[in-house]
Amino acid sequence: MSRGRLEQEVKRRVWEGAISLRFTLDPTDSIALTSTSSLPKPYNCYYILAKRNEFLPFILKRLKEEWILPLLCLESPLATSRQLGDLSGESLETALGLVFEEFWIEYNGIPLKWHHPIGLLYDLKVLASPLPINKNLSDLDSQLASYVSSSKKIEEKTKPWDLILHLKKYPSDKLIKSPSIPLFKEMFMSLLKETDFVRNGSSRKVMDLSKSDQLSLLDGLENSSPSFFQNIDRLRGITEVDWAQNPNLQLPIHISKLPPNIPRAIPIRFYIIDASTATDDTHSIIQIPSSVYCLLEDISQKDQRISLSNFKWITLLDSIYSILSEHKLILPSTALDSDSIHEEPPDKLAKIQAELSTWKCIIHGIEPQLGTPLLWLADNFSYTDNFLHIILVDMKSFS
């Protein structure tokens, strides 16, 4: 594939990536609204194909407008006692006893955070949580069990994601207050400013958007239109690096080859699932600014002077290894502590790979190759808030 074509195809898939959601209404809410614990057909469940990059407030809005309101207009006991036909918008909702800001979504007993993109929520809750394997089984049994669990896993991945819509009893202790749609749009702009600040040292790019550019960006956010993704891409800025020219990322490159528009850092959020978080089905979040290249020290043979005339692209492997070792989530072997000058890089690389072998890394629903340059990932695998959201699962904690 020619230069740029691969990136275009990857981008298209990231933008169009979608997850099918199947909603049912919480039985208590259903009784309160319609006096039955499950809704009458055809309203008993509602399907939505959601983009991975979409956010829950827009899904909640669709659920309200396309599912709950039409249902209530037909089925609510209120509908017969009052004249609802003349009402619309908020007055209709109030008449039916609905408060949009109290809507929330549950998966397996856990309230879903509305400020994470849906793809990230799905990866955290479904892809990253391995089914436990019983260790006391005999070999044959355990093989069988692992076969069954892996096929269950595949089934899990292909069927719609079963979620429960709640209309009442907002879990304020677990979720931050649910926003109205305009408030959510403001929060999204703030996320863009935050990532702009990390990349460029100020939020100027986002602040300098004209009012009409801002409005069209936010309309696009609601509709997940193709132009929205292009606008986000333009805002982030794309670096012109011909990766095909550098097949071996471990080799030093002369500093003169460094492209001019490299971001000073890229914003990454790591979601870490390990023994300390696995038991209560949560994760810890570590946010960092990461550089995408590093300068290499050269010691001149002649006069022993140190110069910094070469650089190396940072890979996903480098980034994961540094975050896990700096936060003491892996214990680096002593061999890695010694300076790399005394050791051939390929050896070191193999050791790091061994250290990370029990960790699983997920971005946008896939496990990317760890040798991928971080800058390539930032350009192509960022979510629309321009964060690179990376999930790291310590598989040891589940065995």
Partner: protein, 99 residues
């Protein structure tokens, strides 16, 4: 190879400096320490208390005159990414600024 991670060092306590913007009242004391494991929400609640503001009074908080973090963002993550000379600078205003 040096670490690609450009984070600022974060200790157990983060130094926060509040700066008023526009017509927001100035605090008598503007520098405080907060536990790194707290969420941004705790800073919002703390500042409201210091200013004697009711929950209904409008108050907007920004990091580095730039953006408003979500209330559940961790102070340590904000400090790691946005500290200036080892301080987390929080600008506050009674009307939306930098919007």
């Amino acid at each position: 190879m040096q670490s690609p991670n450009l984070s600022h060092d974060v200790s157990d306590k983060v130094v926060v400096r509040f700066r008023s913007t526009g017509s927001a009242p100035i605090l008598k004391r503007s520098i405080f320490k907060i536990s790194a494991t707290q969420k941004f929400q705790a800073l919002i609640v703390f500042l409201r208390k210091e200013l004697g503001y009711k929950p209904s009074d409008p108050l907007f908080l920004y990091v580095n005159s730039s953006f408003s973090p979500a209330p559940d963002e961790l102070i340590e993550n904000l400090a790691r990414c946005f500290c200036v000379e080892s301080q987390l600078i929080i600008n506050y205003a009674t009307t939306a600024a930098w919007g």
